[in-house]
């Protein structure tokens, strides 16, 4: 058996839609029903993100091209130093999400975060953001380079580390095999899928698709990864909007289930999802 996170419930807030804890200000959520809150991906240097428009939605998809807007390592450190992280963590366990624009940046930010990694129950590495030009998806084009990166990160930390994988860089179960063989503890599958929509003003929105239409794809990814790797820790991500879907994801092999875009519809669905697992 691989290591596990032992969450109080298997419900996890996805990296990005939950920002840096803003949903903790929404009074309708009972956080004892939530197992962990993943912060938005932090990169070494701050990013101001992409130009607007950054979002659009159809009936089944939400498309976003935020472009990893984040305060960078310095911003994160400030949140640690001013007690924000401790305050958030006192309400719900936190997962840190890290990203980078290059091999060196991934390693560098890992090193820099080491002093306070114990404030987080796990670190998720975002290898699959479709909305940045370097890093994210492109780091995975060169399979051998990526494998070296996985090895390098594993060497830097004993934390519970999770690789977040999309479905476009290679068969997700093959990617997960690589992750596992480098001694990582878990994978999050899937991330958004690259899409293109033209909005009502006629602007082209190139971004990542999230929402209900991802669900059967994410469910399949969970199934394939579990089939390939009986012991790896799996966080399911993609189109989960209802308690039945949490149950189904768990049934097909997920250890935890992440909720992203559904927060935008009604964050109180977290209560319904978490209730049955709460002790």
């Amino acid at each position: 058996m691989g290591k596990a996170l032992n969450l109080r419930t298997p419900i996890v807030i996805a990296s990005g839609p939950g920002g840096f804890g803003e949903y903790l200000n929404v009074s309708s959520v009972d956080w004892s029903y939530v197992g962990a809150y993943t912060l938005k991906t932090v990169t070494l240097n701050p990013k101001s993100g992409n130009k607007p428009p950054r979002m659009y939605a159809s009936k089944e998809f939400l498309i976003n091209r935020i472009g990893l807007e984040n305060p960078g390592f310095d911003g994160l450190r400030k949140m640690v130093e001013d007690g924000t992280i401790d305050k958030l963590a006192s309400i719900v366990p936190l997962i840190l999400s890290l990203g980078g624009d290059s091999f060196d940046e991934y390693v560098e930010i890992t090193k820099l975060c080491r002093p306070f990694l114990d404030k987080f129950i796990a670190v998720e590495y975002n290898f699959s953001c479709p909305n940045v030009h370097h890093g994210g998806l492109s780091i995975m084009v060169d399979r051998e380079e990526w494998r070296r990166l996985l090895k390098a990160i594993r060497t830097e930390t004993d934390a519970f580390i999770i690789a977040k994988l999309g479905i476009e860089s290679g068969f997700v179960e093959e990617m997960a095999r690589i992750v596992s063989s480098e001694g990582w503890d878990g994978v999050t599958v899937i991330n958004t899928i690259r899409g293109l929509m033209v909005n009502s003003e006629g602007q082209t929105v190139l971004g990542g698709l999230s929402g209900p239409a991802l669900y059967p794809i994410a469910l399949r990814a969970v199934y394939e990864v579990r089939k390939a790797l009986p012991d790896i820790y799996i966080i399911a991500s993609g189109g989960v909007y209802a308690p039945e879907q949490v149950r189904e994801m768990l049934r097909f092999g997920a250890n935890a289930v992440s909720v992203g875009s559904a927060l935008f519809h009604d964050e109180s669905v977290l209560n319904e999802m978490g209730k049955e697992f709460s002790r």
Binding site: G18, N25, V26, A57, K59, F61, M79
Partner: protein, 237 residues
Amino acid sequence: MASFSIKNVKYNAYLLTKKSTIEITDRTYLISFQEDLEFSPGQFCMVNVDGAGLTRKPFTLGRIEGTVAISVKIAGKGSEYIVKTSERLNVLAPLGNAFVPENRNGAVVVAPSCLAEGLHLSEHFKIPLFVASKSALSREITSQFELNTVVGNDGYLRLLEELNNSRFDWIFVSGSRIMEELAVRNMPNKLVYVSLNEYMACGIGACKGCAVETMNGIKHACTDGPVFRGDEIWARH
């Protein structure tokens, strides 16, 4: 760069029961609610539209003689749901910043879709309200409220010219993006405030979707706005 500090606020989810729905003009309605909730002029709410949309939808809040109200233009399935449903509305509020003008020597210009907000500001700050509409307002509205209305594009441009030469220090404009941009460009003598309509998913600063390019870098309409100084958004030439 936008700041990343998390605000020390509480956002509440309310269930609001419709009290009345009246047509303002073509496809635009004023909806008032039975319940009360606390908010300040300029703030907005995110309305859950059930199966009619993947995200909650943003609407500016208004208060008319004590009653909470929103005005809604039917722009798609979500807004249509809000107008037509007889169910209670699940609403996250209050969101965004209160509008706090430097003095009370101002005026408000709104499209019919922002009438609730306009009435609220006008009542609250005791300042005049102008409604700029594409087509005439309904009898129900004009009989209930005393409104200065201009109809059509030409009427709107003439109003802007007048206001530009008026005694007011500032003008608050809330409507479509085009309407707001026109106001900023055509009232160079005035401080113009605009309430932006960026695409919003969370309304609380989490998703970073509602980015606006301002003269001071990227800001977020939901947490830095929704009201901005017009000259922060559009250069005047």
